[in-house]
């Protein structure tokens, strides 16, 4: 049942035996389970919100080899949830910062830093050395890439993902169980579902979901227990509710089904629609908008941000119509007056223009390029960028 074959087990030193005594006292783990942990090689893809608690707990548990894949550097706004990094690490590669932290916690762990983006070119080379892959990615193209590579290499994929207050976790591709494509055959087109950058995330949420992933990883290595394969765990931190849904293997799945059509890694940016140009909208820069307002042009300003964002600061003279209500409230716009749509970074506002166009709105529409962040940067520097 363990993903580590018996022949790979290695002896524990006396120092290790005392260090891991609380594991050795559990009959489910015992000395053999601890030897499996020491022999295990686990790859963590993404050393962010999910990867932070994962890496820390797996290191503390005595996983012998931990690989880390990430190409990002630590940013200040990461520190609210990415607890493996500290204030002094801002600006450093996440893999380097995480490696130092793991070494401080448990010098027995061999850390392999892959300071790179995972791509179709390098994924199989990187993944094939590992017994378990843990998906802590925050984007669809890497998630499908990790899924497909794990199916092709037959490595279990411990999955977690988060949004605002909600999380999902399961184990894909274990014991002939379902994969991510069985659940979601294709990702949302870019721009359709808001991401954490605008949606926000409560910092402790990836901590909880990441710990669930760490627990599943340890069970795969030690063997035994009831794993999450075939069950999708949903967690709502705000209501503090766990739910469990059945997850079945799709016989039609293009990669793990009965007649797979995907036999090698594909172009995931294309698959996720990132190479497709979205229908263009007319942009106006913050500086030009300011000029036009100063010269008294008749414009209707539409702020599509949410109420809690307007609480950070409201855009003077703008009518608030949140992004999610645009189609319903089209009648509040006057098609004979030029409209300028405003959001935080200029993406939701562009999408609002496309929604209105599709709904048959005939008035002229402009998109405030780079949103209120550009306005705060280039026009009114007393306002915050957030």
């Amino acid at each position: 049942m363990s993903v580590i074959p018996r022949k790979r087990l290695v002896e524990l030193s006396a120092q290790e035996i005392s260090r891991y005594s609380r594991h050795l006292l559990l009959p489910e783990v015992s000395i053999e389970g601890q030897k499996r942990l020491k022999a295990a090689k686990v790859l963590i893809v993404g050393v962010g919100g999910l990867g932070s608690p994962l890496a820390l707990y797996l290191a503390a548990a005595g996983v012998g080899t931990i690989g880390l894949v990430d190409y990002d550097v630590v940013e200040e706004s990461n520190l609210q949830r990415q607890i493996i990094h500290g204030t002094k690490d801002v600006g450093r590669p996440k893999t380097a910062s995480a490696r130092d932290c793991i070494r401080g916690l448990n010098p027995n762990v061999d850390v392999i830093a892959h300071n790179t983006n995972l791509t179709s070119q390098n994924a199989l080379d990187i993944l094939h050395n590992y017994d378990v892959v843990v998906d802590g990615t925050d984007n669809y193209q890497t998630r499908y890439l990790v899924n497909d590579a794990c199916v092709l290499l037959q490595i279990p994929n411990v999955y977690g993902s988060i949004f605002q207050f909600e999380g999902q976790a399961t184990v894909f591709n274990a014991e002939n169980g379902p994969c991510y494509r069985c659940l979601y055959p294709a990702p949302p087109p870019p721009g359709l579902v808001p991401s954490c950058a605008e949606g926000g995330v409560v910092g402790v949420l990836p901590g909880i979901v990441g710990c669930i992933q760490a627990c599943e990883t340890i069970k795969l290595i030690v063997g035994g227990g009831a794993g999450l394969s075939g069950r999708l765990l949903l967690f709502d931190a705000w209501r503090m509710k766990f739910r469990e849904l059945k997850l079945e293997k799709d016989p039609e799945c293009p990669i793990c089904g009965e007649h797979p059509t995907i036999e090698e890694l594909i172009d995931y940016e294309q698959f996720c629609g990132l190479r497709q140009d979205e229908e263009p909208v007319d942009n106006i820069t913050a500086v030009d908008l300011k000029k036009r307002l100063d010269q008294g042009d008749e414009l209707q300003l539409i702020d599509v941000r949410e109420m809690h964002e307007r609480a950070v600061f409201s855009f003077e003279g703008a009518k608030p119509i949140p992004f999610g209500q645009i189609a319903q409230r089209t009648a509040e716009l006057n098609p004979s007056v030029e409209a300028v749509f405003i959001c935080k970074v200029g993406k939701r506002s562009a999408h609002a223009i496309r929604v209105l166009r599709e709904a048959g709105y005939t008035g002229k529409m402009l998109n405030l390029q780079d949103g209120t962040n550009a306005w705060a940067r280039d026009v009114d520097t007393s306002l915050p960028q957030y």
Binding site: N139, E166, Q168, G191, V193, S195, L245, G324
Partner: protein, 95 residues
């Protein structure tokens, strides 16, 4: 037949920021259709151009995915709850 639609955070802004909404319908498809009629902004997130359920949204009745029953034609009973379970991904700066 009154059916409750359970709405996850990711889709709530398109449904008047509500966590659940009650609609009428005797199949999963008709209940979701009624939901989308009530909140036009959510339609594009649930249905594609051919009115098929989008591939990044699953619908569960109890712990069963309607995909594994009879899809949008899956019958629903009075008092059933339909849970929308969309794909989620946190942290990207994509939008």
């Amino acid at each position: 037949m009154a059916v409750t639609i359970l709405i996850p955070t990711a889709l709530r802004v398109f449904a008047g920021v509500q966590a659940e909404v009650t609609v009428e319908g005797d199949t999963a498809g008709r209940a979701i259709e009624a939901f989308a009629d009530k909140f036009p902004d959510i339609r594009q997130h649930l249905f594609d151009e051919n009115n098929a359920l989008r591939s990044f949204v699953n619908v569960y009745i109890g712990e069963k995915n309607i995909k594994t029953v009879n899809g949008l034609d899956t019958p629903v009973r009075d008092g059933d709850a339909l849970m929308l379970v969309p794909a989620i991904a946190g942290g990207t700066g994509a939008i």
